[in-house]
């Protein structure tokens, strides 16, 4: 693949020493709406967090736009799960969206007028501008989700990683979020979305990643949605893999030797 937006290479990731993603390996085309699907506990969120550098993999690596994440952080924007924050926090919608304009290099500087204009524009895109002064504790689930998306939009990134943006939102919010994503794609943005609903996925996405602790398939929607792939993803866990994962966890076994990573080759 030429100029993949994300390249994931032999990625193995553990949680509490137990591997939850095994040797995952794929490349993603730019400018597409990409869905990440799989049963509960198949490693979807772990995958996104690893790409965002929140979890260190045991082995393998991730490249974003052909570079290390740190070099292109400004061009990547992340929408975490709604449940990852306490919505009782004393802040209003505008406060949260403006966080999208925070820059680690200018933490002691006040936000500029341009920052505020970008935040307003982002709120407008998710149809939340009338709620700008609303306290976040008073938002519905779908509105909370749209605030998170607006915060990500305010970063003016090229690549967006979204963890379950459609979870627990009402039909109207779902409609408007989908419309927004399609519009972003039309502007040439790349969007990777963790999703839980097989039914809608077929219509939402151009490209699908199917996970079941290991990669089942990654490709254009029509190629991926085969009977065989779905059986492999949703037909239960791979017994051998989960047995090995238990062994690795109980013996605290290192999945890669120190200092010898990727050097030897048969």
């Amino acid at each position: 693949m030429k100029n993949p937006i994300i390249e994931v290479h032999n990625l193995t990731v553990s949680y509490n020493k137990r591997p939850v993603l095994w040797d995952v390996d794929y490349e993603l085309p730019p400018g597409q709406l990409i869905g990440v699907l799989g049963p509960n506990g198949s490693g979807k969120t772990t995958m996104l967090k690893t790409i965002m550098g929140l979890i260190r993999p045991d082995s393998g690596f991730v490249e974003v736009m052909g570079k290390k994440l740190d070099e292109v952080r400004d061009k990547v924007s992340y929408v975490p799960q709604r449940e990852s924050v306490d919505w009782d926090f004393p802040a209003n919608v505008m406060d949260v969206v403006l966080m999208g304009r925070y820059n680690p290099k200018h933490m002691f500087r006040r936000l500029s007028k341009e920052d505020r204009e970008l935040a307003v524009a982002a709120l407008e895109k998710v149809n939340m501008l009338p709620f700008a002064e609303r306290q976040i504790s008073q938002l519905s689930g779908g509105q909370q989700q749209r605030v998170f998306i607006a915060r990500a939009l305010a970063r003016q990134a090229d690549l967006y990683l979204m963890d379950e943006p459609f979870a627990g939102v009402d039909a109207a919010s779902e409609e408007s979020i989908l419309e927004l994503l399609t519009g972003m794609k039309a502007e040439g943005k790349s969007i990777m979305v963790v999703h839980h609903d097989l039914q809608t996925a077929r219509n939402f996405f151009d490209w699908i990643i199917l996970l079941n602790t290991s990669l089942v398939a990654s490709g254009p929607v029509n190629e991926v949605f085969t009977e065989q792939n779905l059986q492999a993803a949703y037909g239960g866990k791979l017994t051998v893999l989960s047995q090995i994962a238990d062994l690795v966890a109980s013996k605290a076994f290192p999945l890669r030797e120190k200092g010898l990573q990727d050097r030897e080759k048969l």
Partner: protein, 287 residues
């Protein structure tokens, strides 16, 4: 005049603690604040032992380092030994506090601290320790100056670091994905809390520090959904507690620190019952 200085001392501690405490309770770290305020004891005892021979400011910072050490130990227990957080907190602060008490007993002759003072301070003594310059000029109680400078440090930290504190408190994980060093903000806050604890210790003792760290911010949190307002309200509640507490203490002839805490608790109780949105009585009424 003495009464004025007592209230001023209490208010200075109250404002510093309430501002920092607001961030602590929003970070779900109220008990870490509790732990720090006890665990700086060995640092303070050592500072006393070194006594007049050293400069005051490095000694304060040295004692405050014990507070930061506490948070490091709690994290080590939690991450490396995989103990649950609250157990790590309990083990760490009781050990350091025990160490402090043992040091006090071992050097009883040399340390002018006793166990009572450690817990509830001696705010009534503050006006007696005056700062008199070499030229003989009386500048008022030494402790008031120290606490005043500390309040300036706290205010500067919160004003300058507001964005960093705000984003890492609301959403540490998101801050990390943007490239903001969450650890820097965590340890800056812990250092400021430790410093405040150390300078407040002598006049008000551990218990009032904990009370001001937690109670006024919790009260304010029930009344507002705006962080700047919460900060302002909790400082206000802190000052009210200091003023009314001083009156209560005189009336009952009891500990000033204890009375200030009791008033802060009373304000919380009133808010908890009658707050327009969060009060449980109001909610019953509209059910």
């Amino acid at each position: 005049m003495n009464e004025f200085y007592t209230i001023l001392t209490g208010s200075l501690v109250a404002i510093s603690c309430s501002l920092l405490g607001s961030f602590l309770i929003l970070r779900k770290m109220a008990m870490v604040g509790d732990a720090i305020s006890h665990a700086v004891l060995p640092g303070i005892v050592i500072a006393y032992l070194l006594g007049e021979t050293r400069e005051m400011i490095p000694m304060l910072i040295g004692a405050a380092a014990f507070g930061v050490l506490t948070t490091v130990l709690i994290e080590l227990f939690h991450k490396k030994a995989r103990l649950q957080t609250d157990a790590s907190i309990g083990i760490t602060f009781t050990f350091l506090f025990a160490l402090g008490i043992i040091l006090i007993s071992a050097f009883a002759g040399q340390v002018d601290l006793d166990q009572d003072c450690v817990l509830y301070g001696d705010i009534a003594m503050v006006p007696l320790d005056l700062w008199i310059t070499d030229a003989g000029l009386n500048l008022g109680p030494r402790q008031v100056w120290i606490l005043g400078v500390n309040l300036l440090v706290v205010l500067a930290f919160i004003l300058i670091g507001y964005k960093g504190l705000f984003i890492t408190t609301f959403h540490e994980e998101y801050a990390a994905t943007v490239g903001i060093a969450a650890g820097f903000w965590h340890y800056s806050l812990m250092s400021t809390v430790s410093l405040t604890t150390v300078v407040s210790f002598e006049s008000v003792g551990a218990i009032l520090v904990v009370a001001f760290l937690v109670v006024p911010p919790a009260t304010a949190y029930l009344l507002t959904e705006k962080l700047p307002v919460m900060l302002g309200l909790s400082a206000l509640f802190g000052v009210i507690s200091a003023i009314l507490g001083n009156m209560l203490a005189t009336w009952l002839d009891g500990s000033i620190a204890g009375a200030m805490t009791a008033v802060a608790g009373g304000l919380f109780l009133l808010t908890f019952l009658f707050s327009p949105k969060q009060g449980i009585l109001m909610r019953l009424k509209f059910r």
